[in-house]
């Protein structure tokens, strides 16, 4: 047993492989199929997604589907104007907080706030969405709190794909 890295082979759109004859038992077949399956279950099919919003001061709750093997998710927020944003999850020891001042309150002046993509539980680390790695799907409640006069326009969730134990 060891670590297995995420599979980045794109699994869509459709590619077709056709074998027309019975084939000798060769290790290349199971290993290539395994690579495809691993890609589909991990990074080859599940890129992140983003939500567009017009979120003003308040509390917003989302149930985010956590992919197999994913523990952390990188957050990008597109923000207009000033405010304090806190984003937290059930399994996260450190909430992510940004406070901005001096920003123009105009949609064309929207700017990005983001966590790093480096796993860890620091203030700038990606959001932890699962206590430890597992090869199953789960859901995580993510809470976003905005105070101040600013507006959130988009929030992107990028799974951080790490090699995990098998």
């Amino acid at each position: 047993m060891g670590l297995k890295a995420p599979g980045y082979n794109p699994t869509s759109p459709l590619h077709s492989y056709v074998n027309t004859l019975p084939v000798a038992a060769n290790a290349s077949y199971p290993s290539s199929i395994d690579a495809l399956q691993h890609s589909l279950a991990t990074a080859g099919h599940h890129y992140g997604e983003a939500l567009g919003v017009h979120a003003t001061a308040g509390t917003y709750v989302l149930s985010w589907p956590v992919r197999p093997s994913v523990v952390y998710v990188q957050i990008t927020i597109l923000m207009q104007g000033n405010g304090t944003i806190t984003i937290d999850s059930t399994n996260n020891g450190t909430a992510k907080t940004w406070t901005t001042e001096g920003k123009a309150d105009h949609i064309e002046a929207a700017y990005a706030l983001k966590t790093s993509g480096l796993p860890g539980d620091g203030a700038t680390s990606p959001l932890k969405v699962r206590s430890s790695a597992a090869w199953t799907w789960t859901e995580e409640t993510v809470t976003i709190v905005l105070s101040g006069a600013g507006t959130i326009h988009s929030i992107a969730f990028d799974p951080v794909w790490e090699a995990q134990s098998i």
Binding site: P13, Y29, H45, Y47, A50, I77, Q80, A112
Partner: protein, 320 residues
């Protein structure tokens, strides 16, 4: 049980046709079909009504799913003003037939789900779409505070499915026999067939449909392009892929809309219409992953008079 990664060391040269490695692959093939979620839409917005009959509050695309697996909407809710219940209706339609399910919630607040299993509707190259309706059981107001629409995976039915997927049996692995080509072909194609039938959203903006001509957060009566939203995107694969833009525009009077998106300097638009407006486009990761602050969504009145309101904007993977 779930998908279980296989130690690559188990694939040795001369892997026999009856080797356990094949059984592991067959098992994972079935488990991935059973487990793989597709996320279609989501929103953080609050949708409210005091109506006492089913009132449409949101609509969103539900692409593919030729295998007719259930669709689910998971939502947060709250009851205010003395409301004792709220009724949430989830209707899936292909434009002619509909499948509908309803759930009644009675707590002051919480989370719940409403599930629709398609039976009357059919998948096609044009996405089906979901319509979410809400009303109270009497007095007060009902509120939905954000929701996520996704697929409920389940074990594959037997035989060749409409998605093209077929389960692989394990009875073929006779000792020392060559591996049947149909088994190799199946196991190689199945991951792509599953992926093709379960596209994911890349971006989702859903605002409340008012049905009353009221403006919303993304409305304009201008005939000049107005920036109504600044989208950012999660990182996408660098390979060029086809995506679908699916928009729903409400209007007053006889106004028609142009919806125009700029993604990393690349433009996508749907023109001079209202209601569902959709198109497909090709983009690579270098376009989708470009500076998020440069992305914009514009809308304008293209003809007629009144105002137009962008209620839904989804960007979804498009099977091709």
């Amino acid at each position: 049980m779930a998908y279980s990664p296989i130690d690559n060391g188990s694939f040795l040269p001369g892997t026999s046709g009856d080797a356990s490695a094949w059984d592991s692959l067959i098992s994972n093939d079935g488990q991935i079909y059973r487990d793989l979620v597709s996320v279609y839409a989501g929103t953080l917005h609050t949708f409210s009504t005091s109506a006492t009959s089913a009132t449409t509050i949101a609509t969103f695309a539900l692409p593919a799913n030729y295998d007719e697996l259930p669709f689910v909407v998971k939502f947060g809710y709250a009851l205010t003003g003395g409301a004792s219940s709220a009724i949430v209706t989830f209707q899936v339609t292909d434009g002619s037939a509909s499948d509908t399910s309803t759930v009644t919630v009675t707590a002051a607040s919480g989370q719940d789900v409403v599930v629709v299993t398609p039976s009357s509707t059919s998948a096609s190259s044009t996405p089906r779409y979901g319509i979410l309706k809400l009303h109270t059981g009497g007095a007060g107001s009902a509120h939905i505070a954000g929701f996520v629409a996704s697929l409920v995976p389940a074990a594959a039915a037997s035989g060749l499915l409409d998605s093209g997927y077929a389960s692989v049996g394990s009875t073929w692995n006779a000792a020392n026999a060559p591996i049947p080509s149909r088994v190799v072909e199946r196991l190689q194609n199945n991951p792509y067939l599953i992926a093709k039938d379960r596209p994911n959203m890349v971006f989702s903006f859903i605002d409340q449909i008012t049905g009353t001509g009221a403006k919303g957060s993304s409305s304009t009566d201008s005939t000049e392009n107005v920036v109504v939203l600044k989208p950012c995107f999660a990182k996408q694969q660098h390979k060029t892929k086809k995506y679908r833009m699916w928009a729903y525009v409400e209007r007053s009077s006889d106004a028609e809309a142009n919806v125009f998106i700029t993604i990393g300097g690349y433009s996508v638009y749907v023109l001079d219409n209202h209601g569902i407006m959709t198109t497909t486009f090709d983009a690579s990761g270098s376009i989708m992953n470009a500076s998020p602050a440069s992305n914009t969504v514009h809308i304008r009145v293209s003809s007629g008079s009144g105002f137009v309101s962008l209620r839904t904007l989804q960007i979804i993977e498009e099977p091709s």
